[in-house]
Symmetry: C2
Subunit: 144 residues, 2 copies
């Protein structure tokens, strides 16, 4: 999804005074993501960013595939449900992705096939994470 | 780092009109991360968010551990160098994390040990990704 094959990302400590742990991630594009050890309205945690990446990655794939299949989508939300260990390192133990698609005369087979293609072929973040955690997907079709 | 063991994250399509693929991730804390299929100053890509998460995760660990070891850090940047496959799914093939630590009389052993603890014990994102990709770490100590 629009990335170089090789790249360098800069993650800079913003609050040098203890106990602050706010970092700002700077991308070549100019985009910035603030991250912190505690979640707040101003910054997500790194683990939240991983979940965000998974939902965004599969969502971008699926909306693109549905449009290629001439499906009329009027609303779309990806809900990522995750569970983590309590012990360090606090890795995910289970992830479920729920696709909630709203549209006109949506074909369930088109939705299922788009999700399958994302999960098995296109979504890089899914492929990165599934080496270490089981990920399941399901979908709901909602009226327009 | 401040997360619930079980959680639900909402990733919502913002641009319903084709070919837009901007999603906004909404966390319980109120934090938001915009993601898009193409990187821009307004939104990172999902794969960029994964790299951000890795750099932020280890950075938060290491600055916390260095402070516990009474190290005086005056500047700190984590540079994440990544390589990906060109074929789908475009997973990482290699990641190197470079810690650039600036401070007064920094002890190289304290820096090395903090990085080792993050990589092997505390950094959840590192543990999640290393199931699928080799990750190496090194550091540079810079004068205050």
């Amino acid at each position: 999804v629009g990335d170089q094959v090789r790249r360098q990302t800069h993650v800079v400590l913003e609050t040098v005074e203890a106990p602050g742990s706010r970092f700002v991630v700077r991308f070549d594009s100019g985009a910035r993501i603030p991250l912190d050890g505690r979640s707040s309205p101003e910054a997500a945690t790194p683990v939240e960013a991983v979940i965000a990446a998974l939902g965004g990655c599969t969502g971008i794939d699926v909306i693109s595939l549905l449009r290629k299949k001439r499906q009329v989508v009027t609303g779309y939300e990806v809900v990522v449900e995750s569970e983590r260990r309590e012990e360090h390192p606090r890795i995910f133990t289970r992830i479920e992705i729920v696709h909630r698609v709203r549209g006109r005369d949506l074909d369930p087979h088109a939705v299922a096939e788009s999700i399958r293609l994302s999960d098995t072929k296109y979504c890089s973040v899914h492929a990165m994470l599934e080496a270490g955690v089981p990920i399941t997907s399901r979908f709901e079709i909602l009226p327009d």
